[in-house]
Structures are given as C-alpha cells and as structure tokens.
Symmetry: C2
Subunit: 163 residues, 2 copies
Amino acid sequence: MLSVRSATVDDSPLIADMIRELAAYERQQDEVTARADNLARDGFGPHPFFECVIAEWDGSPAGFAFYYFIYSTWKGAPGLHLEDLFVRAPFRGKGIGKAFLAHLARVAVARNCYGIRWHVLAWNQDAINFYRALGATVLEDWRAVRLDGDALENLAREDGQRE
Amino acid sequence: MLSVRSATVDDSPLIADMIRELAAYERQQDEVTARADNLARDGFGPHPFFECVIAEWDGSPAGFAFYYFIYSTWKGAPGLHLEDLFVRAPFRGKGIGKAFLAHLARVAVARNCYGIRWHVLAWNQDAINFYRALGATVLEDWRAVRLDGDALENLAREDGQRE
C-alpha cells in the first residue's frame, strides 16, 4: 500500500541516496556533489530552500518528489517548481508518479499557488505525453539559461555602477 | 549616474507598474493580474517568496530585476532564478542590464548559490548572444512544463493513495 509523507531532517541521508540513484538513472552521477548534510542544512532550517515528500510502499522508501516555491510576476502569486521526481525501479508501474503529482497539486492549491512547473527533456516523448494527458502545457518557445562557475565569479567582480 | 538598490515594501506600486510595462513590451499586458498589494504581501513578509532590486538613473526609477532562490539537488546548493529584468525605454543603452546581472552575480556569490538561472525566448538571438558573451549556457535540451487552472484543480481532487 502507498503512502506519501513529508520528509524530515532525518530523511536527509535517504534523500541524498535517491538523488544519486536518479542521477545514475540519467547517467549524470559524476555531476552530483550534494551530501546529506547540505540537504539537512538547506531544507530543514527556519528558512528552508526546498520541501520534499517521500513515497513509501508497504513501509519501504519507494521514491521522492523535491520541490520549492517560485513566483509569477504576471499572476502576482507563488508557484510550485518540481525539481526532481523519482520512483525506485521495483516500485514503478504502480501509479506512484501520478500520486506524487496529485499530492503536489494539493500542496499548490493549499498554498495559493497559481500552478506547478517543471522541466522535461525535449526528446522524452513518453514523459511529455504523460504530462499532456494530465492537462499540462509544454512551453516550446522558451529555453533555460545558466550562468555559473568562473563566468559567475567574473561577473560578480564587474563594477555594476555606471556614470 | 546609476545606482542599484534593494526594493522595500514601499516600492510595491512601482514594481507593479514596471511589471505591467514589461508585459506591454512583450504584448502580454492582458495576462497580468498582479497588483501592488500582492507584491507587498508576498515579497516583504517574514518568509518572502522573492527579492527585487531597482535601478535609479540620476534618482529616477529606470528598471527592476526580480528574482528568487531555487535549489539544485545535484549541487546540494541554492541557485538564484532571475524572473524578470526590465529597463525603461529612456534608460536603455546605458549598461543597466549588465549592471543588474553583475549585481545579481554578487548576490549569488554572497548567498552561496551555485549560479544564476533564467529563461529566454528561443528566437531572441540578440539576447542569447548577450548572455553567451557573459559566459552563460543555453540548455537546448530542456523544455519548461506548466500545469495550472482546471487541470491543477482536477489533479488536486485525484486520490493520491493507491493500494
């Protein structure tokens, strides 16, 4: 039987494990530097950067959904951004993915969010079809941009004040 | 002369004005429902959903940058998401856009963020060239997905618990 519960600070090692499992599934495990103590610090203090829910199947940890709140300047309302959704291999095909999304929809409505957002790989047509069947819209016109590493450090050293 | 300062709750009407000006520039003004009181409530309470900085040119409000914190499960660190960046027409060509990005890079570094993220329209080659010149990467493989309105309400009514 499935249950979905909010993560606590004691789940930080479990969440870190499942982040690495998801990264391995996406063949990106070498890019993961997150550790349990990062998650404990950033997710469970007085001003948490994220929230996380854990699915259990007959009491066994079966997956996680990791999200945080964003904000729409058009709507003047927060939104919920789903960063990661992962179901461990033995527990797939049981409706856990949809149960997570339904749970997040309830969180979004309860917190007065205008909606849920996430990202999908453009070539993952199975996922896109699943999301569209739920009524989601793929924003074809937009691309995400990232600035980090040396470029971030260099830009931070620029003098922002002009005369 | 340019200065960039943090917005306060008293700037909520100015921010709402500039959000509408940006939306008009993008021909989306009909989609804006945000009002100053939404922004005052959501951005300046004990748990703000966003932060905002305002550029002034010789004391006149010249533009704004609107951002919030996100989180990378790979990095185990927060990131800064730039939601809106806008410079009023009379003040363009003075380097204010770059000054905003440099300011945000300093905020990101000071808050231990791994980087800055934002979205760009896929056909806006001038903007993409400008961002790439700063060292930013366009994530070509990813698409944003949005679920809201009736689809969100319907999903929230689904029973998420399965046997």
